[in-house]
C-alpha cells in the first residue's frame, strides 16, 4: 500500500534522508520511531506529497507520487504534526471544505461528516469556531479531516501529542479500528504507543532507516540485552563456573548480596533462544538452593536507544 524505494531527500548539499526503503501493507499499522530531527516528518511529508524526494520512488496505493500525485492524494489521509486548521471556520464548515476537495459526493457529505465526527467524538463542538477549541479537540479535528473520504492510507505525525490520557485512549482506538482494513504509518515519540497498536516498527535516525520489524522480532534480535538474574545460596566460584558452562549463557557476573550469608546474586547474559532460563534453573537447583530466577526481556525503549545510540557512536554529528 505504501512503498518507498531508495528514497533520499537533499536540501542543497545537505542530505536529510538517506536511501530509505520500506513498505507498509494493507491492514498494517507501522510505527515510525526516531528522536527529534531524525527525518520522520520529512519522510511523512514525502509520502503525503507535500515535498518530493530528491531521488528514489514512492508509491501509495499503486500510484507513483511523482507522476500520479493527485490520484494518490485521494487515497491518503494525512495528519501533520501541527493540525492544519482554519481558525475562523467552524468545525463543520472546515470538514465540509476538506470533504469537497476530497471529492466526496455532495449528497454524501452530511453522512460522511457524521461518521468522522462520531469516530473522533466531536459532537459537542461541531458548530464551534476552531480558534475556540482546546488543544485536544484541535488534534481530533485534524484526525477527523484525515478520515474523510475513507482513505486507504493514513499518515499520522505524532497524533496523540497534547492529548489527555482519556483522549489518547480514544485516538488509539480510532487508529486501531482504521488499521484493521487500511494501512497506517504512525510517527511517535511514545514507545508504549508503538507496542500497543503497531504490528511493525521502523527506527530512523539521522535520516537513515536503522531497523524495521515487529516489536517482538526486534526484542529477539536484541540478544545482548537479554539477561537472567538469579539469587542462589551457593559458594561464589563454583556457581560462576557452573553457570558459565551452560549452553546459551554468554557471560556471568556473581556478587554476594549484602546482609545475607552465602546468598549470591548472579546475572547471566544469555542469547535470545527459548529455554535458557530452564537450563539454568535445572543446573542450579540440582546442587544449591535457588531463591529467585527472572528473565529480563529488552524493552522497546532499550532497543530504540541501542539502535540510536550505536548510530551516534558510529557517526558523531557536528
Amino acid at each position: 500500500m505504501i512503498a518507498l524505494e531508495s528514497v533520499s531527500k537533499r536540501y542543497g548539499s545537505k542530505t536529510i534522508i538517506h536511501d530509505v526503503s520500506f513498505t507498509v501493507g494493507k491492514g498494517e499499522i507501522v510505527g515510525f520511531l526516531g528522536p527529534n530531527g531524525a527525518g520522520k516528518t520529512t519522510t511523512m511529508r514525502m509520502i503525503a506529497g507535500y515535498t518530493t524526494p530528491s531521488s528514489g520512488h514512492i508509491r501509495v496505493a499503486g500510484f507513483d507520487m511523482a507522476t500520479q500525485n493527485e490520484e494518490a492524494a485521494r487515497r491518503i489521509g494525512y495528519v501533520p504534526e501541527v493540525p492544519p486548521l482554519y481558525d475562523v471556520l467552524d468545525v463543520s464548515a472546515y470538514l465540509s471544505f476538506v470533504a469537497t476537495v476530497k471529492d466526496v459526493a455532495r449528497r454524501e457529505i452530511p453522512s460522511e461528516l457524521d461518521r468522522v465526527i462520531t469516530a473522533c467524538r466531536l459532537e459537542a463542538v461541531v458548530k464551534r469556531e476552531i480558534f475556540k477549541l482546546s488543544k485536544g479537540y484541535r488534534q481530533r479535528v485534524g484526525l477527523a479531516q484525515a478520515l474523510l473520504g475513507k482513505p486507504e492510507v493514513l499518515l499520522l505525525d505524532e497524533p496523540t501529542a497534547g492529548l489527555d490520557p482519556g483522549q489518547i485512549q480514544e485516538t488509539r482506538e480510532v487508529i486501531r479500528t482504521f488499521g484493521e482494513h487500511h494501512s497506517v504509518l504512525l510517527s511517535t515519540h511514545i514507545l508504549p504507543e508503538v507496542t500497543l497498536i503497531c504490528r511493525r516498527v521502523a527506527i530512523i535516525d539521522h535520516g537513515r532507516l536503522l531497523a524495521i520489524d515487529s516489536p517482538s522480532a526486534l526484542q529477539q534480535a536484541s540478544e545482548e540485552t537479554n539477561s537472567v538474574t538469579l539469587d542462589v545460596t551457593a559458594p561464589e566460584q563454583p556457581l560462576r563456573e557452573a553457570l558459565a558452562s551452560i549452553e546459551g549463557v554468554n557471560a556471568v557476573s556473581v556478587r554476594p548480596l549484602p546482609g545475607h550469608d552465602s546468598l549470591q546474586r548472579a546475572e547471566c547474559q544469555v542469547d535470545a533462544r527459548e529455554g535458557v532460563e530452564a537450563r539454568i534453573a535445572r543446573a542450579v537447583a540440582a546442587r544449591w538452593e535457588l531463591h529467585r530466577l527472572e528473565r529480563q526481556q529488552p524493552t522497546l525503549e532499550n532497543i530504540f536507544l541501542r539502535y540510536v545510540g550505536a548510530r551516534q557512536v558510529e557517526a558523531p554529528q557536528p
Binding site: R45, A48, G49, Y50, T51, T52, E70, E71, A73, R74, I76, Y78, P80, V82, P83, P84, L85, Y86, D87, V88, L89, A93, F97, V98, T100, V101, K102, D103, E129, Q145
Partner: protein, 235 residues
C-alpha cells in the same frame, strides 16, 4: 473543478468570518468618499475622472491588505501542508484564491457606486466614461492582486509580503515618470508600456484600448503562473 470552487468558497468565508473584508472595504470607501467629495463638490466638476485617479493610488495601499495573508497566512497556520496534500493542483489553489480576492475587489468597486447617485442627481456625467473608468479600475486591481498574491507565496511573514508588494506596485504605478529621464527610445517605450498609471489613464479618459486590457490581463497571468510555478517548485 470542485476543488477550485471549494478553495474559492473557503477564501470568501475567511474574508467575511474575520474583520478583514469589513475593514478593507470600510477603509477603501472612506478614502474614495473623501476624494469624491473633494473632487466633485469642492471643484464643482461633475465627473469621476479625478476620483478614479485617486482610487487607483488608494488601491495600491489597500491591495496588500487583501493579498498579504493569501499564502503567508497558510504557511503560518501550517494549512499549506493540508492544501498541498489534498487532491488539488497548485494552479487550482492559485486560481481559487485569486477568484476570492477578485470578488473582494468587485465588492469594493461596487460599493463605490454609491458616489454615482449624487453625481447623476446633480450633474450630467458621461456614462460611457464612467463605465470605462470602472473597467480600467477592475483590471488594474486584478493585476495588482495577482502581483500581491505572488509575493505572499514567497514568504511566511505577512508583513514582509505586504512590504514587498507596496513598493513594487508603487514602482509600477510611477515607472512612467522615468520616461522623461531617458534618451533611449527603447527605454522610454518600455517604461511607458510598463506603467500601470498610463494604461489606467486611457480608461479614465473613456478609452477601452485592447492593448491596455491585454496589458493588465497579461500581467495578471504572468504573476499567477509564477505563483503556481513557485508552489510546484517548493515541493
Amino acid at each position: 473543478m470542485r476543488g477550485l470552487v471549494a478553495i474559492y468558497r473557503k477564501e470568501l468565508a475567511t474574508y467575511f468570518r474575520s474583520p478583514i473584508a469589513y475593514y478593507v472595504i470600510s477603509v477603501f470607501l472612506l478614502g474614495t468618499g473623501y476624494f469624491f467629495l473633494y473632487n466633485v463638490f469642492m471643484t464643482g466638476i461633475g465627473t469621476m475622472n479625478e476620483t478614479f485617479q485617486n482610487m487607483g493610488v488608494l488601491l495600491l495601499t489597500v491591495i496588500p491588505l487583501i493579498t498579504m495573508r493569501l499564502f503567508s497566512g497558510e504557511y503560518n497556520a501550517r494549512t499549506m501542508e493540508l492544501l498541498m496534500t489534498l487532491p488539488l493542483r497548485p494552479w487550482q489553489i492559485v486560481i481559487g484564491k485569486y477568484m476570492g480576492a477578485v470578488t473582494m475587489l468587485l465588492l469594493m468597486t461596487a460599493a463605490t457606486c454609491i458616489n454615482l447617485i449624487p453625481l447623476y442627481l446633480y450633474g450630467n456625467p458621461e456614462t460611457k466614461t464612467i463605465l470605462s473608468g470602472y473597467i480600467g479600475f477592475v483590471l488594474l486591481g486584478m493585476a495588482c492582486l495577482a502581483i500581491g498574491q505572488f509575493f505572499s507565496s514567497l514568504t511566511q511573514n505577512q508583513i514582509i509580503a505586504a512590504l514587498i508588494t507596496v513598493p513594487v506596485l508603487i514602482g509600477l504605478w510611477f515607472i512612467g515618470h522615468l520616461q522623461s529621464f531617458q534618451n533611449s527610445y527603447l527605454l522610454r517605450s518600455l517604461f511607458g508600456y510598463l506603467s500601470f498609471s498610463e494604461h489606467f489613464a486611457d480608461f479614465i479618459r473613456g478609452l477601452v484600448r485592447s492593448e491596455a486590457v491585454m496589458f493588465y490581463l497579461i500581467v495578471s497571468a504572468i504573476a499567477l503562473t509564477l505563483n503556481a510555478g513557485y508552489l510546484q517548485w517548493r515541493r
